[in-house]
Amino acid sequence: MFPAAFDYIRAHSAEEALAALAQHGAEARILAGGQSLIPAMRLRLARPAVLVDLGGVKDLGYLREEGGDLRVGAMTRDVTLERDANVRARYSLLTDTGAVIADPVVRCLGTVVGSLCHGDPSGDWGAAALASRAVMVARSASGERLIPIDEFLVDSFQTSLEEGELAVEVRFPTPDGRTHGSYQKIERKVGDYATAAAAVQITLGDDGRVTHAGVALTAAGPRPVRVDAAEKLLLGQLLTEDVIRAASEEARIVSDPFADTRGSVEYKKDMARVLVARGLRASAARLGTGVTA
């Protein structure tokens, strides 16, 4: 309601935004959808001296398949992924995720790239990006570089973007034929942060065995958590109930949440297990393979 004083620069191109970042350095914050930054400023939890608004950078708002990836520009809103027919048909993990972020008002303004750059371990896109092996595209005065999402997400509210760099795009690899996923979330009410959430993406070979597994957790550590052990365990397996149980138990073990008003550590860890199991079952159902008991 009453943010501390700040300067405001409206950029009309990525170059203008980069120039503003170069001029103001660490004092400046990029404003995309503003759905995390503005509430934090309103409560004076965030006090950037300069806001660089990407709202006028129209050519960063796109969603297209190119070069084997789904490319999502820095000003592409959550709602665009949520409602895109191609995404719905082929990237079920992303559709699921888009549908449970905050509330519809937030999703109409919030951006995928902005959420990833915010680096909140409770943000939903982080786990979805980990499970689908996304890659960030960072631009600076010296050009562009690609950053695998595992390297991009460093710590709570901290990414590997360097000073003067602007994240302009996130790329989700276009899945092979037999790929589906699921995003499972427990929240106290619409708009709350996840108490626990899990992203799962599975590719099956012709024999019904898992050829790729992505399993990641939201709100389960200082950054979104990839469950390596579960992924390794799933590879080469049929999606039986025993395999699902074993994989989801790995999620419980690796989950490292903090206790808060949403729940205790014990509860959140167990929900990581429950939600990974549910995500795997939902993925199996979408892949048309009933879970064998």
């Binding site: 309601m1 009453f2 501390a4 004083a5 409560l43 004076r44 509330d103 427990i186 106290r188 009410k189 619409v190 708009g191 709350d192 108490t195 008003t261 729940g263 205790s264 509860y267 167990d270 929900m271 429950v274």
Partner: protein
Amino acid sequence: MSIETDATNNAGPQTLTMGKGMKRKEDPRFLTGNGNYVDDMRLPGMLYMAIVHSPYPHANIKGIDKAAALAVPGVKAVITGEDLVAASLAWLPTFHGFDKQMVLAVGKVLFQHQEVAAVFAETREAARDAAELVDVDYEPLDPVISPFDSMKDEVILRDDREDKTNHIYHWDSGDRDGTQAALDDSEVVVTERIYAPRCHPAPLEPCGCVAQFDAMGRLHFWVTSQAPHVYRTAISLVTGIPEDKIRVISPDIGGGFGNKVPVYPGYVCAIVGALILKTPVKWIETRTENLTTTGFARDYHMDVTIGAKKDGTVTALKVKTVADHGAFDAAADPSKYPAGMFGVVTGSYQFPVAFAELDAYFTNKAPGGVAYRCSFRVTEASYAIERGMDILAQKLTMDPAELRRKNFVRKDQFPYDSALGFTYDSGDYEGTMDKALNQIGYAELRREQAEKRARGEYMGIGISTFTEVVGAGPSKHFDILGIKMFDSAEIRIHPTGTGIIRTGTKSQGQGHETTWAQIVAEELGLDPQNLLVEEGDTDTAPYGLGTYASRSTPVAGAALALAARRVREKARKVAAHLLEAAAEDIEWVDHKFQVMGAPSRSVTMKEVAFAAYTNPGEGNEPGLEASLYYDPPNMTFPHGAYIAVVDVDAETGEVKVRRFLAIDDCGTVINPMIVEGQVHGGLTEGFAIAFMQEIPYDEQGNNMAPNFMEYLIPTSVEAPVWETGSTVTPSPHHPIGAKGVGESPNVGSPAAFVNAVMDALAPLGVTHIDMPLTREKVWRAIRDAQAAAASD
């Protein structure tokens, strides 16, 4: 003049709407964004006030440095508790008279977020910037958070009080020894500690005010108040300003729910600011200020004990309560009722003997104890007995509906004197419950539940058959600051048969502009669309105690009906003149006056109204108006039967409320559409209280729900679909038989939700979980029960 008596001319208004779902007259204004709220007030030269709050729950104040704040451009003044001491305004009496509260902290702070200083500036932003720069030197002290620690008196929180104890008061009601003897003799006794968690009314519009002294030194005070007349008197008593020099105006109010009954420190500061700076001051709370400093509700730890025979007949009820009132006893109960109407805890049942006692304590938490959409502690009482009856049913392995049926006060027992001293006016508890059981298909649901239990699924059905006590209240027993809890009405009919209605109440969303018009329209045969309702301006409205505790319709509604009848009596004389008959030969039939025995000779109220100003008749007083102050002979006792059906996800603890049916009996219904709206809103609040709302404090005294991120308001996604219905048992002592309904859904529903979840978990042996029933609490109860079963 003689009057043609053509029936078509005398048909009267076609739009009488008593008992019909007339659309709310006030809604076009609200729906088009044209309401007029306190924050819409803008006056020339108006300053904005911001308050500095304490980050500590308990600390000595070593000093306050205003210099940096005063240096912010646009800042006009900073005041602290010491400044108010100089003006004798550092303390404020609380409404029920047992305590006082600090306006701005003097010497020490007693709860986190307590008001420490007030800043006045030309803009809101400057005021807030400067508030951050007020440098307060705190010396933190250990906080006392639990009332069970507070009662040990190891640390005395309130050294300003004569009694060096944290104990505020003891209250009891009923027969202590008789109850204990009956419990000792009972075949079955159940007992449970049931906590009604600290929650908050959280109205959509937070509190705020604008204070202005005019050129004649008269205070004009726009404020979010549910009781503007009481405010005027209270302000006069606190500040010494003569009451005629104070005008309190409550404009449109965006919800109150009890939160806007007390007088808050911010109001006093704004008045002081306007006085010393000689210019208007506006203060509007932030959401966090509303949740952390203004009146909370509940926070009762209740030990409920019920005795019964093996066949389920109840023999005795004992309830022992520890109440946490926070740093000041700022509850807004009537003077003689420190625990409000908690004595209604015997509920709808025939307890031959009962005893209730309560001890209240100070803690380092925000002050309050307001009646959040309930008639002073009735929700706590209703929750205790309705939960207790289910615990008893579970112990007896009896169907909870049958246990209730066995013990209900019967329809033919009214007026019924309860064991704790209330005289229930009327009711049909069994009829209302049977309607609910039939409508929801209770027997079929029990069959489905049995099948699901056989499959290991957790489905529950919860019943709450509550009785409320509302409409405070008879002057013999009820007062606030000594002022009797009557209410008032004034009706003025204009020459053209339209009119204006004023009452001492103040709508905050209840729809008075519509219901009041409907009552008067019915009594006078006029068009409710042309009866303007005006409340909330103490210069024009008659003195009344305000709107809370479901008292508007029972008290002011009665005043209106009786004032309308006074108007009618006056009109009868004019009608007699017009009809050339004696007044005693004029009767009121079908909303018009007619000559007894000659129904073709009649006049409408509209015709009489015109004549009252143009041709009143020899010896008749001109004009057509009346006012009336109504002292209710008794309280009214609305009741209801609510049923919740839930499914519990044993893996996550998630509860899905599959169905919820509310059958309410609020006596005569004035506007069923408004009643249904009230029920929907109150049920949604009850749902929130049952499943997600609490103001918890951590061990360090930090308020853990200071905003809507943590204090959860359900949306349409979370809220169940509500099914509603009614039975009608009029109040025998109310002029139109109405009882009040605004609070019933909040009072009655929490127990239905919790009972349903406990019913689902009954096969596991779980008897009680305290609200809010979060997923984790339910998950843990299931897991612990399963672990216990496995280890057997």
